[in-house]
Structures are given as structure tokens and as C-alpha cells.
Symmetry: C2
């Protein structure tokens, strides 16, 4: 059984539970929504990721003996007793993984008792805020890269577990592979990798290092050619591996200039199919700037795992409706000055032109109207009566992302800052 | 036994191992150093965190059957055989947890065979890059807050496991508590928390919610007073809890103005010892700006867990020396254009004035000279012959941070961008 996820939770979720159990309000039927108030400044769309991880984490959200023992001093005995039999028994709907999102898109709707639903707040937000931040950055990078592959290699620049989730999110958003071996094990993300400068420095000469690598990994390998002098390294690389050398990697300097020089040198040496992979603090802007350079693939690290300037999405999880004593559902919303939210349970549609191009994110309260033939329904069932029903393969999420992005107006292809690609329309 | 950490590793560490095992170079004695090339732009110092987590992770770095099974297709049979008996047997020295650092500070020095040491690269960097980024931001926040407590509450804005490490790192850097229950369980970080807007909205009236909270959590609790109208909420809060109410929380609006109004109202109601806690996208600048406002504590979320604009430290892990065939240690360094490093194993000292104020980070190659009486040694033994010797309590790291920060020039108290507080001197 997976380890319990129940302590990935803020203290106050538990004290609220205690107080609400005592007042009796804990059992009121409640609807929470997880949504963004805005996109990161200048971004034209966001990408939902983490849905599959959230479903796994909800299934593992239970208060076993070890977990309960850790809550001594946090809540009282009656609350611990209630937690011991906790099991989410409600319903969840949400945007499917890989879908584009816009301001106020109701990415997840959780309906259950207040007690059951409030406890999930911190964990669901952690997963969605992190994974969607990475996927949103990744999608812009794969868009800028066009047909050239992007490889995720940022594990070392983020928390070791976050790195695994980042590799997964990047894959959803079109990256072709990752360096992260735990992502391969947990999620089947393809991994790839060759060598670092330390491998060259370990050997007495660069040629020794190349020979060692080719002897073990074959001529299809990628040789790192910028430890000392690039032109000399490229010459030796082809001498050692022959013109069938798989690829060379450049990790420093002016990549556009170097790639052009290296391409010419490789071609002159007959290594016309040897690919050039570039790495070194790439982001979507650097990738776009290299579009005209003879580059065959991008390795992206830091900027991917840190969301390219936006390491979190700022999603919130708000109570939008709850039952009254009479059992009727009542819309609720706070009126805080700069953080108002909209009460009532939402539906969400992507309005499309007759050519299938997205033109609005339509969000309304209550039931979806009947007369909206071309609008695409965005909410799918994820959990029904406590059972996960929305699990799908990572490949399905990956395919959905490509389709969802392709549906957006061409403006999304601009890397420059701007308004959301489509307006959010509250019906 | 803790789960294996061996797959929190880049694919290329394993393929380099394979190639080096075949060439024989894998067994060369090697020295790797983990260090920053620079501080984040404008920062005056950094804070080392994650040391204790790194030691735990190294102990759990092993290739059990499940881990080896996951490496099928990554490396060949002889490499898997070698990995099966992997155990780090070398020595590690490093800056102790909580210590301040500067450009090129050798935060960790790993000496072992190339094979043993190279495999640790990704995991050590993940932990140090993440935890130190959070601690470095946290330290500026606690500095800006002065005697007022800072509470970490950013779990929901970062990956669920990163959140636990962030709570730990913030505690090292002077935060007094966290919202994160897993950090309480794993590391003994004190936790605290009261209620969210959803708790108020769940009840029929704000007064009902206050009554429910006070009935369950006592008058010492913190009531959230900005769901509807602040002045009305404060009036009701004191009416419900009495003038002994522990605290009120403000989570929106102009906090300086509101805090002043609320303080006056509380005092007029006789609640002169009721504290005012503020939250809402605080960072070190916002905390500094509230210094003159009647605020009693800061809850910090997003900007803490995302490193306040610098979510990663950019530490690198470089081979600086390795044995030749003759067994002599040779200094090595790459010459890449913009990423040069300095070969040879380092010592590191903090040079102090006769008044005990730091004036330079002194980094040299080889043995520390004898004649430097007032310089403080920065490297402590962490692992000896594969056994962890540098484990210490979180309280010790917390105390060290306070002492280390107090030793820095007063310039660090400026929140504005600037140069590192002390220069790095290469001897």
C-alpha cells in the first residue's frame, strides 16, 4: 500500500475539522472549487497537470495508526476517532490532465461533507500548483521548439521528489524524455543521458574519455564537446566514433554561433547525420532564439523545473456552496477586498468557432444550458462516491495537451507577454 | 529502513559509471566539490540548508532489488552487479547547516572513487539547491521581522514533499513554526494554525463560526476577521471570545492601514493583548514595510517556498581533482567559456576582524595555512569512511544560523539589492 499522504496537510485543516465536528457544521454537504484567479503575468494560457498524481494521493489519504500518533497535541480525542475511519466518499469533477486553462477555470470541483473535503485542500493545491506550473512552462518550450525534441534535465535544480513530478509534468506538455530515473520507474517517462564534464576530466585526455564512452555506449552516444576546445573536441569525437557518431552536446558559450560552426565542421568531416544537442540555462525564449540555428534538440533544466519565472500557479481551493440546516445548497463567497471569489458551483465550456478554434472560456453557475452545441465540455468525472473513475495513461494526457493547445488561437505561439489567448466569459 | 533514494538520479550518472567501469577509470580516487558560482543577483549572503537531509539521503542511497529492476535497459549487467554492492565508503566535509555562504564557498567536498562519488551528484544538488534557496529567502524574512515571529505556511504553493523540506529549511533560518504537519512528524518542526475563510462561510453567520472555533479551540485561538467586514468581525470576535482573545488574522487589503485600525479597535474594546497576525503574499520587502505597523506576527507562504524570486541556488557539483595512474592526485577543471571552475581541493575560512565581524570568505587550494589565528574554519567532517559523523539537531543548525548571520556586516540588514556582504578571496 502507498504511504499515507494525510500529513501533507496544514495544521489548520485539522483544527477547523475539530471545531466543525463540535459545532456540527462539519457534516454539511459542501462544494469546494480549485481555480486560478489569473494567469501568471503575460502568459497566454496555462496547462493543467498533476491530475493523475492527485487521484493517487487522494486514494492514499488515510489516517493509519502512525499518522494518528503524529497528530497528538494537534487535535482532540473525538477528532482523532473521526479521522481513524476517514475515507473520502464524495464526488470530484475536473479538467482532464493536459487541458489548457484560463483565469477562473474551475479545474477541480470537490463535493462531499465539509469535513471530508476541507482536509484535501493543502495536498490538492500542492500537487496542482506545482505540476501545472511546470507543465505551463514546458508547453511554451515545446511550442517554441517545434519539431525538435525537448529533454527535461532539471532534477538537480529542484527538490528530489518535486523533480520526479516535474519530469512527469514536462512529459505531459510535450517533452520527449527526462534525465530522471525515478520518473522512469514511477511513471514510465522515457529517460536519456550521456555524460558530464567530470567524465572527461576523469580521464587523462579528452580522446581517452571519448574512447571510453564509445566503447561502452556505442557510436550512437552523445559526446560532450565543450570541456576544453570545441573544435578540437569535435575533430577527436568524429575520429574516435567515426562519422556515424550519434550526437554532440554543447553546454556553454554562444550556442547559436557554436552550433553553426560545429555543424559546418561535422559536415566537413562527413558526420552529416550527427546531431547537435544544446543545453545551458535554456528557457522558451532561448529556444525560440535558436530556431534558425542548426540545432537538433534542447536539454532544459533550471527554467523548466522552476516554471520559467513562475514556480507556482497560485491556484486556490474555495468553498463555493454548502448546505443549510434545511439541507438546501447555499452559494457562499468571501468579500475580502482583493481576493473576492464567486459563489456557486460552476460549469465550464470551451467555446469554439465553426473552424474549431477556441474563442472563449465560458464559466457559469449551476447547470450547463442545453443550447450550446459547439461548446466543448471541460469537466470530466474524476471520483464518484469515493472511487477514482478518472484515471488514465500519461500518453492520453500528452495527446490531450497537444490537441488542446492546437485548438487555441495562433497568438499563443508568440513568446512575448500578452493577454490570455481567450477571454473568460462568466455566463 | 528508509526507502532507497538511488533513483533520484540522472540517467547519465549511471551511463558514465558504466563507461568508466569499463575503462577502469571508475576506481580513480576523486574529489568533487559542491559550490555556488555566484549568489542570486542582488543578494548579500546565502544560507546553507539541507545538510541533515543530505546525510539521511546518502545513507539510504543503495541499489536494492527493486531499484536494480528499474535500471533494466539503462545500464549493462556488469554495472548492475557493481551497483548491487554499492555503499559509499568515502569521506565528506562541508559547511555545517545554517552557516552563511558566499560565491565559491565549497559547501561540500566529497572524496571517494569516481564511481562512488559521481552517483551522488544529482541527489546532493537537489537537496542543497532546494533547501538552501528556501533558507536564504527565509533568513532575509526573519531579519526583516526582527523580534516578531514568522510562521511558514506555504505548503500549498509547492510540491507536497518539497513543502516538508521547505518548512524544515525555514525553521533553520529562524521561522518559529510551520503549518506543515509532515514537517512536525519528520523533523519536529513546531506547527500552528487556526482557520480559513471556508470555516466562516460554512457557518450561517460569522459569529456562529467564531463561537464554534472558540468553543473548540479556546479563547487563545486566532480568529480570521476579513471574510466580510473587518471592523464588524473584530467587534464580534471580542464579543464572542472576550478581551482575552489570542489573536486576529488579516489576510487581505492594505495590511498596514488595517492593522492600525484593528489595533485601535481592539484596544478600545479592552483586548489590549490580542495579537494581530498578518498574511497575504508577504515577502521580505512587505515584512520590512510593516515594521512600523502594529503587527505581532507574519504568516509567509508563496514567497518563502519559492525562494522569494530565486527558487533554486544554482549550486554545481564538479570534479576538482582525481588520481593519475601513478596514484598521484591531479587538479582538474574545465575551460568552458562562461562556466570555468577552479581545480584542486579547497579549504575555506571566514576571516573576522578583531571585533568578530566577518570581512572575507577565504578560499584556498590544498592545506589551510597555519598562521591564520582569527579565521574561522568552515569545513566540518560530515562522513568518514562511509559513516555519517556530522549529524546534529535542527536546533543546533538554527542556533548556528543566528550566530553566523550575527557575525556578518550590518549591510546584510538592508533588503535592497547589492553586492555580497563580504568578498570571496582566493588565496
Amino acid at each position: 500500500m502507498a504511504p499515507s499522504t494525510a500529513l501533507f496537510t496544514d495544521h489548520y485543516e485539522l483544527t477547523m475539522l475539530q471545531a466543525a465536528l463540535r459545532s456540527g457544521a462539519a457534516h454539511r454537504r459542501s462544494v469546494f472549487e480549485l481555480f486560478p484567479r489569473r494567469l501568471p503575468e503575460g502568459r497566454r494560457y496555462g496547462v493543467v497537470a498533476g491530475v493523475g498524481r492527485a487521484l493517487d494521493a487522494m486514494e492514499a489519504f488515510r489516517f493509519d495508526d502512525e499518522t494518528l500518533a503524529a497528530l497528538g497535541g494537534v487535535v482532540d480525542g473525538p477528532t482523532l476517532d473521526w479521522l481513524a475511519s476517514y475515507r473520502f466518499s464524495g464526488d470530484v469533477w475536473g479538467y482532464a490532465e493536459g487541458e489548457a486553462y484560463f483565469p477562473y477555470s474551475p479545474l477541480m470541483i470537490v463535493e462531499s461533507s465539509f469535513a471530508e473535503a476541507v482536509l484535501l485542500e493543502t495536498l490538492l493545491l500542492s500537487i496542482y500548483n506545482h505540476d501545472s506550473a511546470v507543465a505551463s512552462a514546458a508547453s511554451r518550450m515545446t511550442l517554441a521548439a517545434g519539431d525538435r525534441p525537448c529533454i527535461e534535465m532539471g532534477s538537480r535544480r529542484t527538490h528530489e521528489d518535486a523533480a520526479v513530478a516535474a519530469a512527469r509534468a514536462a512529459y505531459v506538455a510535450g517533452f520527449t524524455a527526462s534525465s530522471n530515473l525515478a520518473a522512469r520507474q514511477r511513471y514510465g517517462v522515457p529517460t536519456t543521458g550521456t555524460s558530464a564534464h567530470s567524465f572527461t576530466l576523469l580521464h587523462d585526455t579528452e580522446a581517452d574519455a571519448f574512447r571510453a564512452q564509445v566503447a561502452s555506449l556505442g557510436t550512437g552516444t552523445t559526446l560532450l564537446v565543450d570541456t576544453y576546445d570545441v573544435a578540437e573536441a569535435v575533430r577527436q569525437a568524429v575520429e574516435v566514433a567515426g562519422p556515424g557518431l550519434g550526437a554532440v552536446r554543447l553546454d556553454s558559450g554562444d550556442l547559436a554561433v557554436l552550433a553553426t560552426e560545429v555543424r559546418a565542421q561535422l559536415d566537413a568531416l562527413g558526420a552529416t547525420s550527427t546531431r547537435i544537442i544544446v543545453t545551458s540555462d535554456l528557457d522558451e525564449y532561448a529556444i525560440a532564439a535558436l530556431a534558425a540555428a542548426p540545432v537538433d534538440g534542447y536539454g532544459v533544466g533550471t527554467e523548466l523545473v522552476t516554471g520559467s519565472g513562475h514556480p507556482t500557479c497560485g491556484f486556490v481551493y474555495k468553498l463555493v456552496a454548502r448546505a443549510s440546516d434545511a439541507g438546501e445548497m447555499v452559494s457562499v463567497a468571501k468579500r475580502s477586498v482583493d481576493k473576492a471569489s464567486i459563489g456557486g458551483r460552476k460549469y465550464a465550456l470551451r467555446r469554439l468557432t465553426s473552424n474549431g478554434v477556441a474563442e472563449a472560456e465560458v464559466i457559469g453557475i449551476g447547470q450547463r444550458p442545453d443550447d450550446d452545441g459547439d461548446d466543448r465540455e471541460l469537466l470530466v468525472p474524476l471520483v464518484r462516491d469515493g472511487e477514482v473513475v478518472g484515471r488514465e495513461s500519461l500518453e492520453a494526457a500528452r495527446a490531450r495537451h497537444l490537441a488542446s493547445r492546437a485548438e487555441l488561437p495562433v497568438a499563443v505561439q508568440q513568446m512575448s507577454r500578452g493577454e490570455p489567448a481567450i477571454p473568460t466569459v462568466h455566463e
